[in-house]
Structure formats: structure tokens, C-alpha cells
């Protein structure tokens, strides 16, 4: 791989929002660190990307080198560089210095969203989840369109096992991008975890929507299988509806088996699924727990 290819790979990772910090640092070590000047105009972007990746894997030597180069060019007047230095303090576990730096950024530019997000991340890193949730809710009052922040809030609520609020955040994400199958899948999973027949029925509907957006989503197929099976084995369900759900179970299990056959998977799940489906739907299997 030459410098040109390495640069393109890093750019594609930047644009597709891929974490892969270890690979980024390896690429820097093996290829780009000898001559960063060869990167041309993209040099500063790459240096920032490598610095963050190196913080992620705690390669302090790489972090120092990248940050020194950036500081020599832009000085600490640059908010972006100052934020990187704050993140370096976070990597060291020095929360106080990091917070001080972020406060200087916010004094200069009170609408700086990235510094506010870093302060929330510090709360989370220290394990102060309620403070993080409070700060993040206040942040979302100001920046309603930040999908990243909604996702973070969703995860924080999940850690608190507050499924209703997590589901609300997920609804917000769906509104922002109604074509993304992953948000629908996430919403279905939250609803399924929340439990109760109404929620499971809702989960089934959303799994079906996921599948219509992306027919390759195997997780959604398993979701339909599990949700329909639970609904079919519920005692409160009227008989005609039960029949319908059993049909869904049959259909999704067939679909799953078909996917595994066409993809030449090393495991054949048909045996498990057969065993699962052949259980008496309203028996004492405990599936409804």
C-alpha cells in the first residue's frame, strides 16, 4: 500500500464514520509517520484523525507527535486544537484540566457544541450518569437536530433501564432519518425488551418495517420470529389472531433458513428453529416470561 491508497482509506473511514482506531494507528505507524508532509492539503485532517485514534488506544507517543505538529501550525488559539488537547487530558484521566480547557472554549464561543459534548462525555466517563443525562437533555433543548446526541441519550437511558424514555429518543432518531433501517431495528429491540403484549406487538411491526427497508437484516427476521412466537403463545390472545401469528412464525423461520442456505453459512440453524417452532404454542414452555 502506498501513501495515496492509505490516504484514501483514511478518508473513507472518516466519511463513513468508522471507529477502527487500532487500524488507523497501525496505518500511521507503518506508512504515514515517516513523511506526513506527503499528505498534502489533507494533512491536518489526517493528523486530527490519527490523534483521536491514538487516544482511543492510548498510544501516547503518537498523540504527542500529532498534537505538537497541529499546535505548531494553528497554535492554541484554534478551538479545534484546544479541544484535542482537552481530549488528551481526558485520555490521561485528568478530568479537571480537561474541564478547564473546555470552559475556556465555551467562554469564547458559548454555542460550541463539541466542547459541551465533551463535558457530557466526562460525566459519563466518571460514572456520573444522572448528571450526564441532565446535561445532555439541556444540550438537546438547544441543539434539537443532533442525532449523535439523541443516540447517546438513548444509550444512557438504556443503561438506566428506562426503556420508555430510551424508546422516545429512538423515535426522535427515526424522525430524523426515516430511511435508516437500523433505527427501526433499535426501536423494535427496545420495545421488545420493555415487554408486555402491546409492546411486543409494536416491536413486531417495527421489525417488519426494518425488513422492508433492508431485506438482508437477519436480526429483524429473528425479531419477527421471537415476537410472533411470544404473541402466539399468549393465553389472552383470541384464536384467529393466534393463527395469524403462528403463520408469521412459520414464514420467518422459513426465511431465516433460506438466508443461511444462500449465504453458505457454516452453521445450519434449521435444527434449532425447527425445535423452537415445534413447541406447543400455548404450552408451559415459559416463552412468555
Amino acid at each position: 500500500m502506498n501513501v495515496q491508497e492509505g490516504r484514501e482509506l483514511l478518508r473513507s473511514w472518516r466519511e463513513d464514520n468508522v471507529r477502527r482506531s487500532m487500524d488507523v494507528v497501525d496505518l500511521w505507524d507503518s506508512l504515514l509517520s515517516q513523511d506526513p508532509e506527503a499528505l498534502g492539503d489533507e494533512k491536518w485532517m489526517v493528523l486530527e484523525q490519527v490523534a483521536v485514534a491514538a487516544m482511543d488506544v492510548q498510544r501516547r507517543d503518537v498523540v504527542e507527535r500529532c498534537l505538537k505538529r497541529l499546535k505548531a501550525e494553528f497554535d492554541l488559539d484554534s478551538i479545534r486544537v484546544r479541544r484535542l488537547y482537552g481530549m488528551r487530558h481526558e485520555m490521561m484521566g485528568d478530568w479537571e484540566s480537561a474541564l478547564k480547557l473546555y470552559d475556556t472554549i465555551l467562554e469564547e464561543d458559548s454555542a460550541n457544541s463539541s466542547a459541551r459534548k465533551r463535558k457530557i462525555a466526562i460525566h459519563r466517563a466518571k460514572g456520573e450518569r444522572p448528571q450526564a443525562i441532565g446535561e445532555l437533555s439541556r444540550y438537546l433543548n438547544d441543539f434539537l437536530c443532533d442525532t449523535e446526541a439523541w443516540m447517546e441519550l438513548c444509550d444512557l437511558y438504556l443503561e438506566e433501564r428506562d426503556y420508555a424514555k430510551a424508546a422516545y429518543c429512538c423515535e426522535e432518531l427515526i424522525l430524523h432519518n426515516p430511511n435508516n433501517h437500523i433505527y427501526f431495528q433499535r426501536y423494535a429491540e427496545i420495545k421488545y425488551t420493555q415487554g408486555g403484549m402491546d409492546n411486543i406487538e409494536m416491536a413486531k411491526t417495527y421489525y417488519a418495517k426494518t425488513l422492508s427497508l433492508n431485506p438482508d437484516n437477519i436480526r429483524a427476521l429473528y425479531g419477527i420470529l421471537l415476537a410472533s412466537f411470544q404473541l402466539a403463545s399468549s393465553n389472552k390472545m383470541p384464536a384467529p389472531k393466534k393463527q395469524e401469528f403462528m403463520k408469521m412464525v412459520m414464514w420467518s423461520s422459513k426465511q431465516i433458513q433460506k438466508r443461511y442456505q444462500t449465504k453458505n453459512a457454516p452453521i445450519d440453524p434449521s435444527r434449532f428453529i425447527q425445535a423452537f417452532v415445534s413447541q406447543p404454542p400455548n404450552g408451559q414452555s415459559g416463552a412468555s416470561s
Binding site: Q58, R59, A121, H181
Partner: protein, 126 residues
């Protein structure tokens, strides 16, 4: 690509030639006070042909078309990439212990004294 660039160049030449022909025709028709208002057929055909050729060439040079349905592109995305949030990265995770600079927490901090990790503290021994 090189072929279509040549076609584009040629078609631009054709269009320019057509424009020049119209200017020239207008000049002469005014001078001779002819009443024919419409542009001659050969120039119209030349213009349309040049336009068509230029269109084909540009479409081929511009590169691959993007899918018009948003879901097709999004369905390639995995959960790992969608849920990745660079502005909320935390750095105190397990990769810390794999770094060459890692210093394990000192045993005295964990309340075990300077003894070996697997040693059972005295207070739990009967």
C-alpha cells in the same frame, strides 16, 4: 473516458460551427433583404446533433450514477458504523490495558498490600 472526452470536444466544435453558421446566414439574409425568416434545415440538424453528442459525452464522463432510493445506500450500513459517535468517545476502556504505556494500578491501591494478586488476605483465612 478518453474517447468520450474526444467526442465532447468534437461536439463542442460542431455547436460552435453551427452558431457561426447562423450568424453568417443572418448577416447575408439581412444584406439581401430576403423574407425567409426560418433558419436553414442543415443548421438546425447540426445544432441538434451536436447537442445530443455533447449530452452523451458528458453523461459518460461524469462517472457512476448514484442510487435514487435512499434506503439502498443506507442498507449497506452496519450497526457499528451508525452507532459510532466520535464526539462522545470515552478513553478509559479496555484498550487502555493493551497500550505499551500502560501502568497497572499499584497493588497497594487495591487494598492487597504488596503481595501477589492471587494471595488471599489474612482476614479471610481461618
Amino acid at each position: 473516458m478518453a474517447f468520450f472526452k474526444a467526442v465532447l470536444f468534437m461536439s463542442l466544435g460542431v455547436l460552435f460551427h453551427a452558431a457561426y453558421s447562423v450568424a453568417e446566414w443572418r448577416y447575408y439574409s439581412r444584406k439581401t433583404d430576403q423574407d425567409t425568416e426560418s433558419i436553414p434545415w442543415d443548421i438546425i440538424i447540426q445544432t441538434l446533433a451536436g447537442f445530443l453528442l455533447a449530452m452523451i459525452a458528458v453523461l459518460n464522463i461524469a462517472g457512476e450514477f448514484k442510487e435514487i432510493r435512499a434506503t439502498v445506500e443506507l442498507s449497506q450500513k452496519s450497526w457499528e458504523d451508525v452507532r459510532n459517535r466520535p464526539s462522545f468517545y470515552l478513553f478509559n476502556h479496555r484498550a487502555m490495558a493493551l497500550s505499551p504505556d500502560y501502568v497497572p494500578p499499584s497493588p497497594s491501591a487495591s487494598g492487597m498490600g504488596r503481595s501477589h494478586l492471587t494471595k488471599i488476605p489474612d482476614k479471610y483465612l481461618s
